[in-house]
Symmetry: C2
Subunit: 546 residues, 2 copies
């Protein structure tokens, strides 16, 4: 083989992709830009770099070594941002603990990740104390507090964060090491089984950051994140590195505002007082923000908002447009670091009134640079990009988790055939815009095709007298699966299965659905099983059907 | 060692950084944006991708395999852009031949690179034929022409580019391979010795591109390259990948205009007709552009211009400002891929009239993200960032050439101490802005300090009656070196060595130079030795002095 290789491992002059490199430019280009924590703390980028070096000294003196895992339980704060950098930069792994999980689940994830140290906010101190006997790997605890006085605790305390930092040197010579070293870990929860741990390396985070910085900055009509912006996350920092935006914002040198605990009124006040221009969040949080008292008297016009997690409802999207919120849908998941797609508005769309842009802005988005994205049928064949045909989204990109931590079987499923399987079923139109139709587990596989249960539910609900509807697939000898519908009529109305079948027949005639999409059985009922958070529980429906 | 490593080489799901990934987003985000070649050809990004796949088929069918080197001799064209991608994407290496070198030097570089194939424009056909006996490694030649009919040739022709492409399939499944494979090579010429070959890998070019895309796009007041821009290079594509901008522009999906041969009037016409907004070039080219007839009647206001290679003279900078050209200095070299620094204007500077921004815009610039840049004294100690102290610029970054091809001794010099030595001497001020003072070989090392020969020349020339001046260091037993000045008075004026010494004495008193910076000898003369391109030949001056 003739190919000439520049072999980094054998070359003293190679430059590994390490998180420390992301800190170089913010301080140089925008030294005066600020990091703000609620209404409590503000400092500039020069200080941010100093504090990260101080934290590295604190951690090193506490005994944290390369390969150790440091768990963090905090609200969104400057401390969390400092930990995003300092912990990986000394060669350790930061475990972003999902503080919304139950104590049992938190104990499970901390044990599974084999956390060596813990940084914990006073608000979670009782929780940490309660599970301390079940998290025996934790050797020491740094206390995080907004108060002058730290709360006394039975934990093995190293000290209080700000006190420790104030006594630490601001000099630290961060080492070079293998760019494939794990930098971060956190857990993703499904509807079944234990939380699964995903990990990201220095290399993956650097590449995700470089790519995000250009994707969010350089497209016409959507300059989401540029040096003059003021950024405030509304996705918790324990959730996929707050979508990775803090790393990109820090690299560019953007002013950053961390709101602490998510209280809508306080966040809207910070938006106003600090001149926030760019945020991101899931629809539920955005709905809370729009509905809070403080928002009623605040001009939200021009607030650039990345939305993800799930598609915003038509109502929420329309409300955002009414208020002038410039929202853009993005798509990704815990396993994908997360950025995979971003809505891209064409010139003709950008010229419409904001309200008329809603359909374009609520699409799933166009795959971002460096992302190889396909939709494939059940046999793994690539499905055409005609806006109609649906397939499962599978991806390759430089920043996808390579495996679930200590779960080889689930990892093999995730990466079946060498592509990461998202579990989302979508179409792609001729403008390369992806539109998610359903989760694959809720898709009905019938006659060699996939029928979206969500689409079928939407069509059924248009019958006019229907309060709630759920569609699942039930086994069928001839067709593999056939649709089964549970329908709750509007109180006081009467609806029959025949009426629904007739209603759906028009869509068959229009060519919108195939005839085998008409449910085999339609059950008229008074209640549909729900999960603890109020979502339709399709797993339970299937179980009930035996 | 506890560190957990995600080992890409052992992981079937790893994603190497390959140039093919840079093509994904342009077509998806801006499918209708155009690639324009002079007034001859235009097509969209969908076609660009098709043509790159066609070219890959042409090359493969011609016998080009992984690790082969394909030399290109062309003006700036759509063909060159296609070759930037197709050649590395099939695993081969593109050699950008510097067509401005002498035939002997071109033959030297083609032999040294062991070129297997050649793509050559008709304008260079006679040249290629003339050296064909001295370039025996070349097995086949693809002819590039703008005419309907290709010129007959004695070379071993595979065919004419457009004809070959029109007969090729537009399907090609580009392989994955090691991201450290060499993708590009070209030769850099110094004042002495043979040209030296530098190489860049797929990984290095992908990282340079990702970084450039964000650096040129996201800083306030300097949105140099965004999707709505129209880009036309004015640095030849054989020179450091036209500073790497075509790769970044293609990734974003920017409209690109390639001017062919550099004819100032034609380029200004293209600027006007195609709506060019962003270009880059060295001062000599920019001066030609501003002075040409076509520019006299063309509104250049708002043309964003990256300048590099050397600092624009005060006169050129002022003229650009007069015409409203928004110029920004960048710094790099062939060995650095090239981007190292970029001018960054602070808010207070941006608010000034353009003419008053000239001093800020002509600085060397602030190191860009991912670039670790230091200035060091002769002992290798880091020099303070006080805007006064000078040191040699040494750098680390993910995209620096790792060695000169087949020149291990020169490579070791380049990378002495694990940092790439630029050979440039500079200061860095408290705003992290670099200011180059001199080439290290022209710096005078005296009394343990460095004196910039350029600065001394500038001070001497302020005496008022001086047409030309050159300062070099001459050996001195006590001081190591002392300055020696050659001075040519303005015709008709008389200047003595004593007058110059007295003139310089004021700068000693002002603390601007040390007393040992006053030249030991000042020779009044009528002529200063020059190189073939008209630059002061300091090497010759030193030789003359024995």
């Amino acid at each position: 083989m003739k190919t000439r290789i520049i072999e980094p491992s054998q070359n003293a002059y190679s430059y590994p992709l390490l998180i420390k490199s992301l800190l170089l430019s913010g301080e140089r280009y925008e030294p005066d830009h600020e990091i703000v924590y609620s209404d409590l703390i503000r400092y500039d980028y020069v200080t941010l770099n100093q504090r990260i070096r101080k934290l590295a000294n604190v951690l090193t003196e506490a005994g944290v070594g390369a390969g150790d895992t440091v768990a963090v339980m905090d609200w969104d704060s400057h401390r969390y941002l400092e930990a995003y950098f300092a912990i990986p930069m000394i060669g350790a792994i930061i475990h972003h603990v999902n503080v919304r999980l139950s104590p049992d689940q938190i104990a499970y994830t901390m044990n599974h990740a084999e956390d060596d140290y813990l940084m914990v906010h006073d608000d979670f101190l009782a929780l940490a104390e309660g599970i301390s006997e079940r998290t025996p790997t934790v050797k020491g605890v740094i206390q995080l507090t907004d108060e002058a006085q730290a709360t006394p605790s039975s934990l093995n305390l190293i000290g209080e964060y700000e006190t420790l930092l104030s006594n630490a040197s601001d000099q630290y010579d961060f080492p070079d090491f293998d760019e494939n070293s794990v930098a971060t870990t956190f857990y993703t929860t499904g509807t079944t089984g234990n939380p699964k741990g995903v990990c990201f390396s220095h290399r993956q985070l650097v590449l995700h950051t470089l790519n995000m910085a250009s994707m969010l900055g350089v497209y016409e009509g959507q300059p989401l994140l540029r040096s003059e912006d003021v950024y405030m996350p509304m996705t918790p920092m324990f959730h996929v590195h707050a979508w990775g935006v803090p790393y990109a914002a820090t690299m560019i040198g953007v002013k950053q505002v961390y709101p602490g605990r998510y209280e809508p009124n306080k966040m809207v006040k910070l938006y106003r007082d600090e001149g926030v221009t760019f945020s991101h969040g899931v629809p539920a949080v955005l709905q809370m923000i729009l509905s809070c008292d403080e928002a009623k008297n605040t001009d939200l016009n021009g607030w650039k908002m990345l939305t993800g997690g799930s598609a915003p409802t038509a109502g929420l999207a329309s409300e955002m447009a009414d208020r002038g919120v410039q929202f853009f849908t993005a798509y990704g998941m815990s396993e994908t670091c997360p950025l995979l797609t971003l809505v891209h508005l064409h010139e003709s769309e950008r010229e419409l009134p904001l309200q008329e842009q809603v359909p374009a802005r609520t699409k799933t988005g166009v795959p971002v640079s460096m992302v190889d994205l396909r939709i494939v049928d059940p046999q793994g064949n690539v499905v055409p990009h005609d806006g109609e045909s649906v397939g499962e989204i599978v991806v390759r990109a430089p920043w996808l988790t390579q495996s679930y931590h200590k779960e080889s079987e689930k990892s093999d499923e995730l990466w079946a055939g060498g592509w990461l399987h998202t579990g989302d079923v979508a179409s792609i139109d001729q403008n390369n815009s992806v539109q998610i139709k359903d989760r694959i587990k809720d898709v009905i596989k019938t006659g060699g095709e996939w029928i979206s249960s969500l689409e079928l539910e939407s069509l059924i609900s248009e019958q006019g007298h229907i309060a709630e509807v759920a569609v699942v697939g039930i086994p069928d000898e001839r067709w593999d699966e056939r649709p089964y519908a549970l329908v709750v009529p509007v109180p006081g109305e009467e609806v029959t299965a025949e009426q629904i079948t007739q209603h759906l027949q028009q869509y068959v005639e229009q060519g919108r659905i195939n005839r085998w999409a008409i449910p085999q059985q339609i059950e008229i009922t008074t209640e549909i099983p729900k999960t603890s958070v109020g979502k339709i529980n399709k797993k339970q429906i299937r179980l009930n059907l035996g």
